[in-house]
Structure formats: C-alpha cells, structure tokens
C-alpha cells in the first residue's frame, strides 16, 4: 500500500527523471521500508520522503537540461535562429488536452475582463477610445466635487456645470422644464479666475485645429473692437432691461475711444476689463463676459447618448457623490454629499440615502467638499426637510410653480428634525443654494466657514471663437431681505474651521438632544 502511495508521489517528478531513476527510487523505498520496520521508523521514513520530495521536485523542474548547454553558443556561432528538441517524445494526449483547456480558459478570461470592465480600473485605459479621453467634452461629465482641490477645481466645476446645463437646453428654448435645468450656469472659482468654458458638443477636430492656430494670439485694437461690437449686439438683443443694455453699450464704446482698453492684449484680462466696465454702469453680478482658451462651438448641442452613458457610469462608480451615509452615536444622521447629481440618474441613490436616515433624531449634511450640481437635486433633497411646500429660491429660474419644494415626501419623518450643515470655503454653487435657502427659512444651522460665493447664472451667448457672454434672462424673486450668496458666500451661524465643523456640530446636536 505505502509503496503504491510512494509510486504515485514519484509522478510529481518530471518525466525525464522518472524514466532515468524512477525504478531505482522505488527500489530504494522498498529497501528502506524493509529495513525500517515499526511505528517510529515508519514515521521517520515518511517524514524523510516528504521532506525530500519538497526539496527535490522543484529542483528537478528548474534543472538545466544538458541539451540546452551550449545552445546559446551555437546560435551565436551560426547567426541563425535554431530550435532544440529537448524531449524526443510527443507529450501525452492528456497533457495536450489540459494545455488546450488552460489556454482557452486564460484567453476567455482576458476577453471577458476586457469587455466587461466593470469596476476594474486597471483595464479601463485599454478599452476607452483615445480621442474621447483627450477632449474637453468627455471631461465635462466628471463630478467636479471629486476633482483635486484648488483653483483648478473651480474651473473644472465651471466646465461641468455649464456643460451639463447648457447641453440640456436647446438654443432659444427658455421654457422651464420639469426635469432639466433651464439655464446655462456660468460659474467662476472663488479666486475670480476666468472659467474655461468647454465646447459641449463641439466638432472636436475643428476645435483642436483652432486651438493650435488661435490659442495664444494676442489681441490688437481691431480684434478688441470686434469683441466689443459683438458684446454690444448680444447685450441689446438679450439683456432683460433694454435701457440698461443701451447704457452699457455706450460705456463700452466710450472706454474704447478713450484708450482704456489698449493695455489689454490678452483674452482673460480683456474679458475681465469689459465685465468691470459693464458692471460699473449696471451692478448686475450675473452679467459677465468670459474668455475661453478652447474655441467655443458654433452651436451648443445636447449631450450625446455616449456622454450620458459615461455620466451614468461615472455617477454609478462614485455612488452619485453620496460619499458617506451613516448614523452617528446618539442617533444622529450624517450624510456627506460631494455633488448634487442629476436626479434623472441619481434619484434612487438619493431616495435610498434619505430613507436610511429616516429614523434619526437629527441630521448633519456635510457639504464641505460639495461644489454644486443640479438645482433639481438641491430641491429634491430639501423637500425631505419640510412637511409642506416651501418657497424655494433659485436665482437661476423665473418665479414659477417650480419654486416650491415638493413636500411632504411620503413616509418621510425628517421634516421636524433639527438640521445642521457643515460648510467650508469650498462649498460652492448649488451647495450654497441649499445652505442659503435653508438658512433663510430658519430650517438649518450652518457650521463651518463662509461658503465660496458662486451663484453666477445666465444664458451663454457666443461672440466669437474665444469670447462669450453670460446674460441673465430671468428675473427671480428673492423673498428675503438678505442678498443671495453671489460672490459673498453664505456666512455660517457657527463659525469654526472647516476641519472642526463635524466635531462642533456633533457637540451641538448632542446638547440639543439632551435638553429634550
């Protein structure tokens, strides 16, 4: 019996060894088994054999075969590629079959991984088309909240927001829609850097060429004049107050005549200068002229099915920017939301998040890293905090029936629970709307820092390849005595460093709950 076991174990050795020494190895085993009888000697024998197998089997597989010695020398001498046959027998049929099965399995596994990339990021670069990843268009659907910090992020936010909003609005269509934003948002970073408006739906090849030709051109007097004339035409055509448009046009021309513009030879500086000149006459913070390094498209078109699919995929990957939903000690709900995503994609995620916090005694919204998003999602989240429709101020919309929260939400129990919002100077745009409105409605306590101050809104009009204007075409009614957050930000109720906001909030909530 034990001899049979050892004979089987010998099969672990490569065939060339078995053929040469298999029989002798077995013979040696027989000799030892005959001489070493008894329990302990047998145990010792098997221990020896297994140790021996563990060391000598790998050694045999890594052994340099005599046939290979000198092979490399021969090849060098001949200068021609040559093959050496190490085994003079065909592999066994079973071995061939096993090889086929393993090869098919490996090839199949790789192709499945390539087509069904799923969350395996490592395979992503292999499957995406290079022209898509390189264009501004494709980056437009990345949630800015998840970008790196700093000024670059401000610009990225502008990209996202203007692209998603603009693309959902066919040119000339200003009718509010129930599911999609109706205005183009032109946002700026807190540092007042000019936004780089991406070309949504641009003909990418043309845009790329233009960038090379015109990208860094300096502006001469004629070029500046063309921009000024373009701005005046756009103002007169679209600005809500015609008399004010006339006044601003006059001012722009007067500045040009008196040589005030001569020093502005670069696009961003010239755009900022014209914006200042217009606002000197008419302090409308939603009106501005912007410069784009990338050429602006002739017509803004809607996002392609591909873009939407990408957006969905990104949102799915990022859990719709709902970074954390948890219940802290003392039954305090905590929701860290980094972006107000499109409800048409993320409504189920938002609903599930709010449902999981339905039974908390107080709720903390962490918007310290929230860079804005879709006004619809802002309103959707706010609806949970009221038991009846509340007027919901949105500087980007005309006053319509849409401006009311859709409260009460069936089954919701959060309408009477204390609400706390954590803010930082990075809290921006749509997130600031959430803060401002809830603060004005005395529904939330803001803890942290004054927010970024991004409320720019308007419809974007193209002047030429690099200049465009954001012009407010709506006249929203702000029912509150306090001006909205545009450029000033929303000040917190409890001012602490953003990093300490959560700790402060938890203490406040606990003391409030303890008093009950």
């Amino acid at each position: 019996m034990s001899e049979k076991i050892y004979a089987l174990l010998l099969r672990l050795f490569p065939s060339h060894f078995r053929e040469a020494y298999g029989e002798e190895a077995l013979q040696l085993f027989r000799d030892r088994a005959r001489d070493e009888k008894g329990f302990f000697p047998s145990v010792q024998l098997w221990l020896d054999l297994l140790t021996d197998l563990a060391f000598s089997v790998p050694g045999q597989y890594f052994r340099i075969q005599p046939a290979l010695i000198g092979a490399s020398t021969l090849r060098r001498l001949d200068g021609l590629p040559s093959f050496f046959i190490l085994e003079d027998q065909l592999p066994r049929f079973g071995a061939l079959l096993l090889g086929c099965v393993f090869t098919l399995g490996a090839v199949g596994a790789i192709s499945v991984l390539l087509t069904q990339v799923g969350p395996y990021r490592i395979f992503r670069p292999w499957t995406f088309q290079p022209q898509r990843s390189g264009s501004a268009h494709s980056s437009a659907f990345k949630p800015a909240a998840l970008h790196a910090a700093g000024e670059a992020e401000g610009r990225a936010t502008a990209s996202v927001h203007s692209a998603t909003s603009a693309t959902s609005l066919p040119p000339g269509d200003n009718e509010p829609d129930d599911t999609q934003p109706n205005t183009l948002l032109i946002e700026d970073g807190p540092e007042s850097s000019r936004p780089q408006i991406p070309p949504p739906g641009a003909q990418k090849a043309v845009a790329a060429t233009n960038r090379v030709v015109n990208g860094d051109a300096t502006l001469d007097a004629a070029a500046r004049h063309r921009v000024i004339v373009g701005a005046i035409v756009t103002l007169k055509e679209h600005y809500i107050y015609p008399d004010m448009a006339q006044k601003m046009a006059g001012a722009l021309l007067a500045h040009e005549r008196s040589g005030d513009d001569d020093a502005a030879t670069e696009g961003p500086a010239f755009a900022a200068l014209l914006t200042r000149q217009m606002r000197d006459v008419n302090p409308d913070r939603h009106l501005e002229l912007v410069y784009s390094q990338d050429p602006l498209p002739q017509h803004m078109t809607g996002p392609s099915a591909e873009d939407l699919a990408r957006y969905r995929e990104t949102m799915k990957e990022q859990n719709c920017a709902f970074q954390k939903v948890e219940i802290l000690p003392r039954n305090i709900g905590y929701l860290k939301l980094n972006w107000f995503p499109d409800p048409s994609v993320c409504r189920p995620t938002a609903t599930a998040a709010m449902a999981s916090l339905n039974h908390v005694d107080a709720i903390i919204f962490d918007l310290r890293d929230n860079r804005g998003g879709e006004p619809e999602m802002v309103a959707l989240m706010a609806a949970y905090l009221f038991d009846r429709p509340e007027y919901w101020y949105n500087p980007r919309e005309n006053t319509t029936q849409k401006s009311w929260t859709r409260s009460p939400v069936p089954g919701n129990k959060l309408a009477d629970k204390p609400v706390y919002i954590l803010t930082s100077d990075r809290t921006f745009s749509g997130a600031e709307q959430f803060c401002y409105d809830l603060k004005m409605l005395k529904r939330a306590t803001l803890i942290g820092e004054t927010t970024g101050g991004g409320a720019h809104s308007g419809v974007f009009h193209r002047i030429d390849d690099h200049f465009g204007m954001g012009i407010p075409e709506t006249n929203p009614i702000n029912p509150y005595s306090e001006a909205d957050w545009a450029e000033t930000g929303v000040p917190p109720d409890v001012q602490v460093k953003a990093a300490d906001a959560l700790e402060t909030a938890v203490k406040l909530v606990q003391s409030k709950l303890a008093k009950k």
């Binding site: 040469a20 020494y21 002798e24 013979q27 000799d31 030892r32 197998l53 000598s56 005599p66």
Partner: protein
Amino acid sequence: MPKRKLDPLPSAAFQILLSLAGEDLHGYGIMRQVAEQTDGRMRLGPGTLYSSIQTLLEGKFIEEVDRREDARLGEERRRYYRLTSAGRKLARSEAERLADLLRPARAKKILRGDYV
C-alpha cells in the same frame, strides 16, 4: 555539464563522493553509507540522492558500473556507481577547502581536535 551546479559542491554530492571512495555502491548502499559516515545526520531521500547522482554522472565525477546482485538484498540486479579520478580529485579539493575553513577556527581555539 553545468559546472555551476557543483560549485560550490553541495554537501549531499560531497558525501556521495566520499561514500564511493571505498567501494562501488548502489543507491541504497550510498544512502546507508552516507548515513553512517555522518552519524545519521544526513539521510538522503530518493529524490535528493538520484538528483545528485544525475549531476555527478553528468560531470563524469562518478560512473555507472555493470549491474550486479547484492547478496544481502536479494535477487534484484542493481545499478552500481563508482568514483572516477575526476570525482576523487573533486572530493579531495572540497575536503581541503573545508580543512582550510577549519584551520583558523583551530588556531583561535574555537574548535578542538586533532584531525585538522
């Protein structure tokens, strides 16, 4: 022959060479002789034994001699191995190398004994 396999000489190969210094032996005989000359510290398993024999054969340090019967082990005909002059030389140079290693140890009185 892959020279690097025996440089340095593995202790199993050295012991096999030593075991064959006195007489020709078959595999089991080598195993027992090695166990004896190392006071049972080295018990060569079949894999290690025949791997080493294979290497030594390839290097022509040992050679096979005609099969014959071992009266003590019964009727089976067995392959016997014999030390070649090259093998004897290799064993001697290895023994000298080891002696050289031990000499300073003796001088520093770390190792006692009169055989080095």
